[in-house]
């Protein structure tokens, strides 16, 4: 009995995780199917583009700028140990475009957008606004979920692209102002070293991470419990799930793009 009890708990936990994955998969499939079937809600889509894309620019830009700068300092200090200070432009470019750009933008979107979507939809559920939508012959999946996920799929790769450029600029600024690099040489090394697939992988990662972030916000919002506690749990759960899934997806995508 003592042996079986932990095994039973493990089994239950495994079943819970698998059933949750199944529910998320069904939710995702329903969302994608609503994206391609009318009616469409252009106003909701435009608002989502604004909220997820445009209004996330400051936080994404600042995150990328400081990360690029810090990366340049670290690589310079680390490279100095084996006389490899000159690789700063190349490593900053690769680090930002392949990994830090998409991951940090994804995580910032999870913090900013996933939480906001989950809290908004959960509050709508608690205050019966979702029920009201249904009674007004409007499918909440079509009206709330599909526009947000579609907007994230489109805007987050753009944000990642912008983040990559700003991050590289952060490294450039630190390297040329503080570390004595020649501006023209720094830029030439950056451009020469980056490959087309680095950029493509970065944008694809952005697309996937954006989809995960918006989907998790909508899923947890739609399945929120009652009251303020329900809204709080939905918000917290959505950010946790989005962050973990983004990091896991990053690992898988990196393997797909760059495994030798």
């Amino acid at each position: 009995m003592i042996v079986l009890s932990p095994l039973g708990a493990l089994g239950r936990a495994t079943l819970d995780v698998l059933s949750a994955m199944g529910r998320v998969a069904i939710f995702a499939f329903a969302t994608f199917s609503h994206m391609v079937r009318p009616p469409f809600y252009p106003r909701e889509f435009a608002l989502a583009l604004l909220q997820i894309g445009w209004l996330s620019l400051p936080v994404v830009g600042l995150t990328a700028l400081f990360t690029g700068g810090a990366l340049a300092l670290q690589i310079y200090a680390g490279g100095a140990r084996f006389n490899a200070e000159a690789v700063v432009p190349q490593i900053v470019a690769i680090g930002m475009v392949r990994e830090l750009g998409p991951v940090l933008v994804g995580l910032m979107i999870a913090a900013r957008v996933t939480s906001s979507i989950a809290a908004e939809i959960a509050t709508m559920k608690v205050t019966e606004q979702i029920d009201a939508l249904v009674t007004l012959s409007t499918d909440p999946m079509k009206y709330l979920t599909a526009p947000r996920v579609l907007a994230a799929l489109i805007t987050v790769p753009i944000l990642v692209g912008i983040g990559d450029v700003i991050g590289i600029f952060g490294g450039y600024a630190v390297a040329t102002q503080n570390l004595g690099f020649n501006p023209a040489t720094y830029l030439k090394n950056t451009v020469d070293f980056l490959e087309f697939r680095d950029i493509v992988s970065s944008l694809i990662k952005g697309c996937v991470f954006g989809g995960i972030a918006a989907l998790m916000g909508c899923y947890y919002g739609m399945n929120s419990g009652r009251g303020a506690q329900g809204v709080g749990r939905a918000t917290k759960g959505s950010v946790e799930a989005a962050a973990v899934m983004i990091l896991a997806a990053n690992f898988l995508l990196t393997g797909v793009f760059f495994s030798v």
Partner: protein, 248 residues
């Protein structure tokens, strides 16, 4: 006509509806009363398909509420929610005209706005309210906007979920009178759930009392006070003593 036939609904071990049989005649106003947690809202949501009954069926004009085109089915209904359930992100007029701005009942925006303002006027609100957001309105005004939204598309059936909850007695009286007037002039079938007895007397043609998951009593509002049903008597007089267990 709306007809409940042996409707059951449970949430886990909690058997909320245990075989509800009820008939609401076309063009009449039925008020369902009962204590908190007796399943009044569940019964109402079962009709709209927001909750699926475990057993039994609900017929609307002889057709099963779950059969056929659900959007077309819902287009016949208007509903006033307990808390208003107004969409925070939309101005008042777009809340009222929500159904008229999309879907099968879509109208040009200017026409939808005109109808919304007319409906707002009907519920006693001035046109300048139209461009405000729900959060800028008092509880009574939000109820009125909810009422205007419920009637905006001229529905054949209107549901009112606790229409006076959270309002002061005077505002509650105003909302009750408005509901009665609107239901009468539209000739709509109305189903109201409440535990406010002043609402019952103002709105109802017929009354049904839900207790222990079944309809305990039903009859015309005029017979409510002389029904002789101990459950109904205890409820309408608000007595702690009686067959309905009151937790102290």
């Amino acid at each position: 006509m709306i007809r409940f036939e042996g409707v059951h609904k449970a949430f886990g071990d909690n058997r909320v509806l245990r075989g509800v049989d009820l008939e609401i005649t076309k063009g009449t106003s039925m008020v369902i009363i009962g204590g908190s947690g007796t399943g009044k809202s569940v019964a109402l949501k079962c009709v709209l398909g927001l909750i699926t009954p475990d057993q039994g069926r609900i017929l609307v004009d002889g057709k099963d509420s779950r059969a056929g085109d659900h959007d077309a089915f819902l287009a016949r209904f208007g509903m006033l929610f307990q808390g208003g359930a107004l969409f925070d992100s939309l101005p008042v007029w777009q809340n009222v005209a929500f159904r008229l701005l999309r879907g099968s009942l879509k109208r040009p925006q200017a026409e939808a706005r005109e109808i919304a303002i007319e409906k707002l006027r009907r519920v006693g609100l001035k046109p300048d309210v139209a461009d405000r957001f729900p959060a800028e309105l008092s509880g009574g005004m939000q109820k009125r906007v909810g009422l205007a939204r419920a009637i905006a598309a001229e529905p054949q059936i209107i549901f009112f979920d606790e229409p006076t909850t959270g309002l002061d007695p005077i505002m509650a009286g105003v909302i009750n009178d408005l509901i009665r007037e609107i239901v009468t002039e539209m000739g709509a079938t109305a189903m109201t759930i409440t535990h406010d007895m002043s609402s019952v007397r103002a709105i109802a043609d017929t009354v049904a009392m839900l207790h222990d998951g079944v309809i305990q009593w039903t009859g015309p509002v005029g017979q409510m006070d002389v029904s002789g049903d101990p459950y109904l008597d205890q409820f309408i007089h608000g007595r702690a003593e009686g067959p309905i267990e009151a937790v102290r």
